[in-house]
Amino acid sequence: MIPTESPSLRTGDTVLPGDDVTSALRTNDALKVVLGPGLRREGGQVVASRSGVLRMPKNNVFVVEAYQKRYIPVKDEHVVGVVTNAGSDIFRVDIGASVSASLSYLDFEHATKKNRPNIQVGDVVYAKLSTAGRDMEPELVCVDAHGKANKLGKLEDGFLITCSLNLIRKLLSVSCPLLKALGQKWPYECAFGMNGKVWIKARSTKETIAIANAIYESEHMDNDQIKQMCINLGVIVDSI
């Protein structure tokens, strides 16, 4: 990749892969600059690696923001995946990335060589990426550093939907009211993977569909609209 010179770029501009954004990252203070997703270091230059808008979400933190549905595995992120193959010592898990991830059957809570976890093809798991690199197959684990499940593991029953990565980020931000508002309306359980897969489990089919639709609809809404939608949704579902 030969970075193209473009000294006029600034935060808020649209960038294409290969654009040299080094000049845009110069800040007045001598603090270190954090390069988020979409930015890559090539020698002494910083180069955009995807097309989107160059943004600064926090002080001295830069990212290239873009609408994205394809997941790029990143270490330590939590994902929801579907088991596609159960081998002798590993499970293949589809996490929506370019290649399927592997999950060792020993990386579950209380799992030993004799005591295998009860997981079949087609099951949904909530797991954490233990390794993720550009050139390697991603690896998953269902335990934390202390060998405890800590929310990870097989997700029983429920319903799986797929949405954009941007929507996941929006819903998991602290300021988003959707999940709490839905939780006040109905008891339910959910698992949001950073890979765009969402697992929902509610008491009835009706409620599950309502929650799934609410998640899809909130993609292009602001916080006030989301709150209003939840109120309306509650009234409609109760009346059916």
Binding site: K32, V33, V34, L35, G36, P37, R41, G43, G44, V46, P57, K58, V61, V63, I72, V74, K75, D76, E77, H78, V80, Y126, N150, K151, L152, I168, R169, L172, S173, V174, L179, K180, L182, G183, Q184, W186, P187, Y188, E189, C190, A191, F192, G193, M194, K201, A202, R203
Partner: protein
């Protein structure tokens, strides 16, 4: 001499081959392997690290950047175990935030007044007779005169008998 002391003594090959040394052997092998791989990749790492690169931190995940929540949630008792963990997490975040605020406001974690109050108690304990009950502690000033009278009487019990 000094560099010899820092170096761990290596076990001989013959000993490592013995059955009961299996664990130690594995350890030695692992160390060796690590050392070799380090040498192998040392060149690559140094190539990537130059003076310009030191000013950048690479963070490919949006989770810490946007401080996103954990995606596993439960509401109104659907999964009590998850809800317990959620509460713990919330508590943890709040504690962190409090600590951060304190750091930013430049106030000490424990105010001077509180320190004086706490230390006043603990240090005072040092100078008090351990056998006294708490009820007596509360009314210190009144008891002070009594104590001094009691103390010599008690000490007399433990006086060493004379050697004759």
């Amino acid at each position: 001499m000094s560099h010899k002391r820092g170096h761990k003594r290596n076990l001989s090959k013959g000993i490592l081959e013995m059955k009961f040394m299996k664990k130690s052997k594995e350890k030695v092998d692992k160390e060796k392997e690590e050392l070799e791989s380090k040498d192998l990749f040392a060149d690559n790492i140094n190539k990537g690290k130059n003076s310009e690169g030191a000013q950048y931190i690479i963070e490919q995940s949006m989770v810490p950047i946007e401080s996103l929540l954990n995606g596993r949630m439960s509401f109104r008792g659907m999964n009590p175990e998850v809800e317990r963990l959620m509460q713990e997490e919330m508590h943890h975040i709040q504690e962190k935030q409090k600590a951060l605020e304190r750091l930013q406001s430049n106030q000490p974690e424990i105010s001077d007044a509180e320190m004086a109050r706490r230390l006043g108690k603990t240090v005072a304990k040092k100078f008090k007779n351990k056998n006294r009950s708490d009820s007596e502690d509360d009314s210190e000033n009144e008891d002070n005169s009594d104590e001094e009278e009691k103390r010599p009487a008690k000490k007399a019990k433990f006086l060493k008998p004379k050697d004759d």
